[in-house]
């Protein structure tokens, strides 16, 4: 018995080192660039991917018709070396560069783009971003299965011409041509992605270790316009912001895409970190959805008052770490933030030009002054914001006039309690507690806070079973349309049940308006309706947050948070 006992014990003890030698991964050599890329990517098929970690990888291993210049944010040649747009702005003709190859050495032609784009639109394939191409003639009816694939106006001429006809001018169409869903997919991919599937970008996947890293190496068959500087790139699957920070501090990563909120004040102020910390204005808005069917939010006076008492500057500074900008309306307003960014970069000796995000959109220039409905950004003072800035006294007056009871005055009806619904992750609870405090102190409104796991939260939000719910929106393309089509009647992501005929009309007119200036005016009118009557309470314009090692060069801050690896290289520092 003794010997059996010893044998079992010995076997158990020895199994661990044996297992260690057997299962420990072979050490990959060093990479030129290591990116702590966030969550382990889901699908990296261009038609199926939805998140930013996936997008960064797809941009490196695929190449679209066009690329976005990280300096000017203008579309530049990718697979297409030139293009023509008809005078009406509805017909695009792209010339595919001759001699392009897939990473398996086969020819890449205009037909590959046509097939990929039709697959993206195919209603039965269920690509989440298929609607990016719905303005193509014939696309909408095919997506409703009323017509066929052949009737969609995406055509080829020979191997090198791709022609697209749109229902109406889409000013952001060239920008779309650089986006991940519109990248060409290999004919044999059949919905799959990974090392075995050929791609056409400057890099290919060498290995994919689940929940560890995806390693890219240069694609020997790449014939595109870029000259990538990096030979080996590692995308680490590191979910935790703290761990990303640790890896960067230890020199084991060069770019951390997520940092813990608690570290942001140090990253901003500490000299060792501040030159690596890029918190740049970003085309995203944080807001609350309001349920206009429930009292007291059905009263516009209450909606106006709960907004007026908010000192958004204080929220951004004290609660959010200081990087985000107060929202002045529903479209994020990067202009003042961009100005600040420009100054910050000049201080650092950088001379890169930062561009306005929505050229032609005077943006939050809508003010409370009806004489000057449109102003340039530099002229706007906080008291002229669309939300009239921060004015608790005015808020109380408004409520009193409407017959509600406010602190310091016993008359009027008591305001029913509100419930704030937020997802349980991130800084949402801090924001909710701040709102609870301010509304109670200034207006005497009782607020309860309900925190929910993300998918349960989405489920409640979708069924509009809330008073106020935490929300955010990041633009799919740099145009007001990406924000303002969100709340048209029946839009799939409205999640408010709100419907306003006048608003719908303005949005429809703006979408169909070919003249830029007129379009922008229509967008501004639509935004004004949304702010005055609509179900939104904007809080702050988002900022991107990247921590980038000094060894990385060519990382150019921009309001799209677009960082093409083709432009990035390592310095010897």
């Amino acid at each position: 018995m003794k010997s059996l006992e010893s044998a079992i014990l010995l076997l158990i003890v020895l199994s661990a080192p044996i297992l260690a030698i057997w299962s420990f991964p072979s050490l990959p050599g060093p990479a030129d660039l290591v990116i702590a890329n966030g969550t382990d990517p889901g699908s990296i098929h261009p038609h199926r991917a939805t998140g930013l970690p996936e997008g960064r990888i797809i941009q490196a291993i695929h190449e679209g018709l066009l690329l976005i210049d990280p300096r000017s944010l203008e579309p530049i040649p990718g697979c297409a070396d030139r293009w023509e747009i008809s005078s009406a702005g509805t017909r695009y003709r792209f010339h595919i560069q001759p001699g392009l190859l897939w990473s398996d050495g086969t020819r890449l032609t205009a037909e590959d783009f046509r097939r990929s784009w039709l697959d993206l639109l195919d209603p039965l394939q269920g690509a989440p971003y298929g609607d990016l191409l719905q303005s193509v003639v014939g696309a909408r009816s095919w997506r409703r299965l009323e017509t066929s694939r052949e009737q969609v106006a995406i055509r080829t001429e020979g191997e090198s011409i791709l022609e697209i006809e749109l229902e109406h001018p889409v000013p952001w169409f060239l920008y779309l041509c650089a986006q991940t869903p519109l990248q060409p997919v290999h004919p044999e991919a059949d919905g799959r992605a990974g090392p075995a599937i050929a791609t056409n970008g400057p890099w290919v996947i060498e290995s994919w270790r689940l929940r560890d890293r995806i390693r890219l190496v240069t694609n020997p068959f790449y014939r595109g316009p870029s000259t990538p500087h990096l030979e080996v790139i590692d995308f680490l699957a590191v979910e935790s912001g703290n761990t990303q920070l640790n890896l960067l501090a230890a020199g084991m990563a060069h770019w951390a895409v997520r940092t813990p909120a608690a570290a942001i004040p140090v990253l901003r102020e500490d000299a060792q970190w501040s030159s690596m910390w890029h918190a740049d204005p970003y085309l995203g808005i944080s807001f609350f959805r309001l349920n206009l069917e429930r009292p007291p939010l059905d009263d516009p006076n209450i909606r106006r008052a709960i907004s007026l008492v908010l000192d958004r500057q204080q929220l951004c500074h004290d609660v959010l770490g200081g990087d985000p900008e107060p929202a002045l309306g529903f479209i994020p307003w990067p202009k003042p933030a961009i100005e600040r960014q420009r100054i910050k970069m000049m201080e650092r000796g950088l001379t890169q030009e930062i561009h306005d995000l929505l050229p032609g959109y005077s943006g939050m220039a809508m003010t409370s002054d009806p004489q000057k409905p449109v102003m340039t950004a530099a002229q706007i003072a906080p008291e002229q914001w669309a939300y009239e800035g921060h004015d608790p006294a005015l808020a109380r007056q408004i409520l009193q006039r409407a017959g509600w009871r406010v602190p310091g005055s016993p008359e009027g009806r008591a305001i029913p309690a509100l419930e704030i619904l937020h997802p349980s992750s991130g800084t949402h609870s801090l924001v909710a507690e701040w709102l609870q405090l301010v509304w109670n102190r200034e207006l005497g409104i009782e607020t309860t806070i309900q925190s929910m796991e993300w998918r349960s939260f989405l489920d409640v939000q979708r069924s509009v079973d809330y008073d106020l719910s935490t929300s955010s929106w990041i633009a799919d393309y740099p145009d007001p349309a990406s924000f303002l089509t969100l709340f048209t009647t029946g839009a799939p992501n409205s999640r408010t049940g709100w419907s306003d005929q006048e608003y719908d009309q303005r949005v429809a007119s703006a979408l169909a308006e070919p003249r830029l200036e007129e379009r922008m005016k229509l967008w501004q009118q639509a935004e004004r309706i949304l702010l005055e009557r609509g179900p939104v309470l904007p809080l702050w314009s988002m900022t991107s947050g990247n921590l980038v090692s000094h060894q990385v060069e060519g990382f150019l801050p921009n309001p799209l948070d677009h960082h093409d690896l083709r432009a990035i290289h390592r310095s010897s520092r």
């Binding site: 006992e5 079992i8 003890v13 199994s15 661990a16 297992l19 260690a20 057997w22 299962s23 420990f24 991964p25 050490l27 990959p28 382990d40 889901g42 699908s43 990296i44 098929h45 199926r48 939805t50 209603p123 039965l124 394939q125 269920g126 690509a127 989440p128 971003y129 609607d131 997506r143 409703r144 919905g191 992605a193 990974g194 270790r209 689940l210 929940r211 560890d212 680490l236 699957a237 590191v238 979910e239 935790s240 761990t243 640790n246 890896l247 501090a249 230890a250 084991m252 796991e453 993300w454 998918r455 349960s456 989405l458 489920d459 409640v460 979708r462 955010s472 799919d476 799939p492 992501n493």
Partner: protein, 307 residues
């Protein structure tokens, strides 16, 4: 013995099926679905995506599909990572968790048993009190606090070990240390109390009366019976350690399977959650069987009963 083994195996199979069935219906009862996002695609596109993964089928039919899939060891693709099937996701992470967990188990148990013996040598003495307090702290402190302190001190203070990553053998040290704390503290307490209890038994008194030193009595006469309760608690501890730890995997960026239990559920990645739960259940059943076997070896009284 063999009929006992057969009965145990049958009970294990029924347990595994029951856990699978319960887990399937509980995870499907949770609100929301795997393809919910801040930006929903239009309703018909969403229906097409759900149809691709048979999520439009009635629940009982999905249940049968999954059950048959698992019986054939081919549960299909993960819903969040459709480029990979669930079996390969678990197969990629399990050796890593197994390695970390077994190293932590061996280290923790060995250290714990040694500390338990030292503490039992002089109950109430300074060493005993020190070990009891340390073990209590080890049990009480949350793992993320210990891990954070270790990273701060060992990686950034002393610069000895990498703070995270799964690249070199040194990157194993901190996660193994963290994971070994719980089994070390548990076994130190169990062995200490077991030895103290055993040393009051008649056989120990007889041994001492025969002139054996207290140390020899503890080591050669009391340790063996004192190990029995430890072996019994080791099965669930080992199953938990070998299937990874969410906290340790997250802090040290370890690509094990521990994360799938939480993330799979949060993402409503139904097949992946079921896979993770099945992995844990099967392992727990196997280890319980092993623990029974070990107890049987350690305790001669049981052998008589089984025969």
């Amino acid at each position: 013995m063999s009929s006992l083994l057969m009965r145990r195996l049958l009970a294990s199979l029924i347990t595994i099926w029951a856990v699978f069935t319960l887990s399937f219906f509980i995870i499907h009862a949770a609100p929301g679905g795997p393809f919910d996002a801040n930006r929903d695609p239009p309703a018909d596109v969403k229906r097409a995506i759900e149809a691709r993964y048979h999520l439009d089928a009635p629940l009982w039919s999905q249940y049968l599909d999954q059950l048959v899939g698992w019986i054939q060891l081919d549960p299909g693709p993960s819903l969040r990572q459709p480029d990979h099937d669930v079996a390969s996701i678990l197969a990629a992470g399990f050796p890593i968790s197994l390695l970390l967990g077994s190293l932590a188990l061996i280290l923790g148990t060995t250290v714990g048993v040694l500390l338990g013996i030292l503490a039992a040598l002089r109950p109430g003495g300074v060493l005993d009190q020190l070990i009891v307090v340390t073990a209590s702290i080890g049990l009480a402190l949350p793992l993320y606090v210990i891990a954070g302190l270790l990273v701060l001190g060992v990686s950034f203070g002393l610069g000895w070990l990498p703070p995270a990553g799964w690249q070199t053998i040194p990157s194993l040290v901190l996660p193994v240390l963290c994971l070994s704390l719980l089994p070390a503290a548990q076994s130190a307490r169990l062995i200490r109390s077991g030895l103290i209890e055993m040393s009051t038994e008649e056989f120990a008194r007889t041994a001492r009366a025969k002139g054996l030193s207290p140390f020899s009595v503890l080591l050669f006469h009391c340790l063996r019976p004192a190990l029995i309760p430890l072996v019994a608690t080791l099965a669930p501890t080992a199953a938990a350690l070998l299937t990874g730890s969410l906290v340790v995997e997250q802090i040290f960026a370890i690509p094990g399977v521990g994360m799938h239990f939480i993330q799979g559920a949060l993402n409503r990645d139904y097949p992946l959650v079921l896979g993770a739960v099945l992995l844990y259940t099967v392992l727990l059943q196997l280890l319980s069987l092993l623990a029974d076997l070990l107890t049987w070896i350690l305790d001669p009284r049981l052998r008589g009963e089984v025969r």
